[in-house]
């Protein structure tokens, strides 16, 4: 914890917004906006993992893609520290500079099947960033690819194979090797294990952890599985309908959540232990529509602690405790339960 606060900030996101227009009719008149990412700010430090959880449609994937400008953000800044002296705003750079930025920031995808071009050999897939950036060629190129493939725990004898020769877990390793080709500092991992089998999941999680240690990588780890996020992250952010509702160190968030949504989310996770019949908080109703969110706090119609103020005023994003951010009017007064307490009790 203390070590992280000392380490330098690598990515700084400031009031990032992504609104998708809703078009209607032949003339494509804009009739509204889907607020996929709605005023989100956070920092990612060097060598740390920031976990990002939320339910489907909460905008976590869009947020990850905005950081790499695969999706063009509507507003806000993403400051990326390329070198100790130089920090650039990813949202402002031109195409050419963006391409050079991709040497430092990369991505690992969710679907191991659509993320590898089935018509290319492993050598070409993993080596593509090297080739495109003219890093090396010939012998050196093959050697570097071999090195990368070894790094992610695959056999170097299979470079001439095509992706169809590999299982989901192995393909995910290939995807990771490609992301590492240019020695990036920061990787957006978008649900990298959710398409994998349980036993393979663990292999990939371990690999990501080990690579982080060896290469001092920073991850933005997007997932919907809370136990996976808890396992891998140093800090965790929780999203609800395009907004960050809570951000804290993993320790704090899982033991003493401050936002009622986090509490409900934690309580909903089924435990692999039949003895613990967790007292689940069942949220009434359905997730809010990001095209037409409710007034005030977006979570208030489903919140059991909601008061009048929640219906009218949107809560501010505040640092309630050192390093523990939350957007809830009642964050200071509520005493919510996390998961570790339940277990010790």
């Amino acid at each position: 914890m203390s070590q992280q606060t000392k380490s330098k900030c690598l990515v700084e996101v400031k009031s990032l917004k992504k609104y998708f227009p809703i078009e209607k009719g032949i003339l494509k008149k804009v009739v509204g906006h889907v607020r996929a990412v709605d005023d989100v700010s956070f920092k990612i430090h060097e060598g740390e993992t920031l976990g990002l959880v939320g339910e489907s449609g909460c905008g976590k994937t869009t947020l990850g893609r905005c950081l790499l400008r695969i999706v063009e953000p509507t507003e806000g800044t993403v400051n990326f520290r390329v070198s100790p002296e130089k920090t650039v705003d990813v949202t402002k750079v031109d195409k050419k500079e963006l391409r050079s930025l991709y040497r430092d920031m990369q991505m690992v995808f969710q679907d191991p099947f659509s993320s590898l071009d089935p018509r290319m050999t492993i050598l070409d897939i993993v080596g593509e960033p090297l080739k495109m950036n003219k890093v090396c060629s010939g012998e050196e190129y093959v050697e570097r690819v071999k090195e990368l493939v070894q790094l992610v725990g695959l056999e170097t004898g299979h470079l001439r194979r095509y992706p169809h020769a590999f299982s989901g877990g192995q393909r995910q390793r290939i995807g990771i090797a490609r992301a590492l080709a240019l020695n990036p500092k920061f990787i957006v991992a978008d649900e990298p294990v959710s398409a994998l089998d349980v036993s393979v999941q663990a292999q990939i999680l371990n690999l990501l952890k080990q690579l982080q240690k060896e290469l001092n990588l920073a991850y933005l780890f997007i997932a919907h599985d809370l136990s996976v996020v808890e396992h891998i992250s140093h800090r965790v952010g929780v999203m609800y309908v395009g907004k960050l509702v809570e951000l804290a160190s993993t320790e704090d968030l899982f033991t003493k959540p401050l936002h009622p949504y986090t509490e409900a989310l934690l309580s909903a996770v089924p435990r692999p232990d039949p003895e613990v019949k967790a007292s689940r908080i069942v949220l009434p109703g359905e997730i809010a529509n990001p095209a037409n969110p409710p007034s005030g706090c977006y979570f208030h119609p489903r919140c059991r602690y909601a008061v009048n103020q929640c219906k009218e005023v949107a809560p501010k994003w505040e640092e309630i405790k050192p390093g523990h951010y939350c957007a809830c009017h009642r964050a200071k007064e509520l005493d919510l339960s996390g998961v570790r307490e339940t277990q010790s009790a």
Partner: protein, 343 residues
């Protein structure tokens, strides 16, 4: 003493592919008791879904049931072997849906996009209750939607599936499946495509309904947490075989098969942080032309050259009610017998 409702004996199902014969289900036996839930855990490709489809005779070519019995004990103590019925015959159609219902993983894919929820539910009810009047069927549909917690059911009956969320669709599926008061409900990963909070709602709902309607369940999932919540008895499947079977408390407290042990350790547990997870090396092999060996041989840390690589162990009752398929516990002779049968 609860009595048996479904008994599967030595079920074998194969897929005939160009590459050879794929043994998806390879000698699976289990029984489901009245008002109890049998949970089946396994990774993709272990044959858990094929087992479920085989029971309802919904397995499509190139898949085929190759052997075994599926004994269904109906209310009047009649025994029917579902494996012997014609897959589209009248007998199975009477049982399918009415006596044994099923819920699938993708609620959106199981509902027709061109008909309203109401039309689909009523069609299902009328099909299994010939002679019933339309308004009676609608009454039942409304009642069921109310039961599964769908708000404003009268309006929902007129909605099309795409107008509902995934969770809502799964509720509709459950309502439809339960509308004919089935005695056995087969759930094939019903909450895998849903978010945790919705999953929590659905699991709570299913447990409530099971208690209320007194039905049995066969619950298939890969999620250990969900199994711990819903199941009374648990069967662990690997490569078309049940490798371990016992009650839910024992399996989590004292897993005995190396695969079950490793599987439990490889899942990150909420609230207990480990530096590194224990993993199972390698991947699930494809069961084509495997020959006689323990299916887990290639990934097992206890594997022994000789016994494990040449013979397939039998499912042995190691402790009362605790069955394990591993040479660590069973006698070699027994295992040898079974593998000889299989060749």
């Amino acid at each position: 003493m609860p009595d048996t409702i479904l008994e599967v004996k030595n079920l074998k199902a194969c897929f005939h592919l160009d590459e050879g014969q794929l043994r998806a289900v390879d000698g699976v036996s289990f029984a489901i008791q009245r008002e109890e839930t049998l949970g089946v855990i396994g990774e993709s490709g272990c044959g858990k879904s094929v087992t479920a489809l085989s029971i309802l005779r919904l397995l499509m070519p190139p898949g085929k049931i190759e052997g075994g019995e599926i004994l269904y004990y109906s209310d009047d103590n009649q025994v029917t072997d579902l494996a012997k019925l014609h897959p589209n015959g009248e007998q199975i159609r009477k049982i399918r849906g009415k006596e044994i219902a099923m819920i699938f993983q993708e609620p959106m894919a199981s509902l027709s996009p061109v008909h309203t929820i109401g039309a689909q539910m009523m069609e299902f009810i009328l099909l299994h209750n010939p002679g019933m009047k339309k308004n009676e069927a609608q009454e039942i549909a409304l009642d069921m939607l109310n039961k599964v917690g769908v708000s404003n059911p009268a309006l929902r009956l007129q909605n099309y599936p795409h107008q509902l969320s995934g969770g809502m669709c799964q509720r509709v599926m459950i309502a439809t499946a339960l509308s004919c008061n089935p005695r056995l409900l087969i759930c094939d990963e019903p909450t895998t495509a849903l978010d945790v909070t919705v999953q929590a709602q659905i699991i709570d709902l299913m447990e409530e309904l099971q208690a209320e309607m007194g039905m049995s369940m066969l619950y298939i999932t890969h999620d250990l947490g969900v199994i711990a919540e819903v199941a009374d008895e648990v069967a662990v499947m690997y490569l078309g075989k049940i490798v371990e079977k016992c009650d839910v408390k024992t399996i989590f407290k004292k897993p005995m098969h190396p695969y079950t042990q490793r599987l439990m350790q490889s899942v990150p547990k909420l609230g207990s942080r480990q530096e590194m997870l224990d993993t199972i090396e390698g991947t699930v092999p494809i069961p084509i032309g495997m020959g006689a060996q323990c299916g887990f041989y290639s990934r097992c840390s206890h594997a022994e050259e000789g016994s494990c690589s040449r013979r397939s162990p039998a499912l042995v009752e190691v402790e009362p009610g605790h069955f394990v398929r591993c040479f660590k516990y069973g006698s070699v002779e027994e295992g040898y017998l079974e593998s000889a049968n299989q060749i």
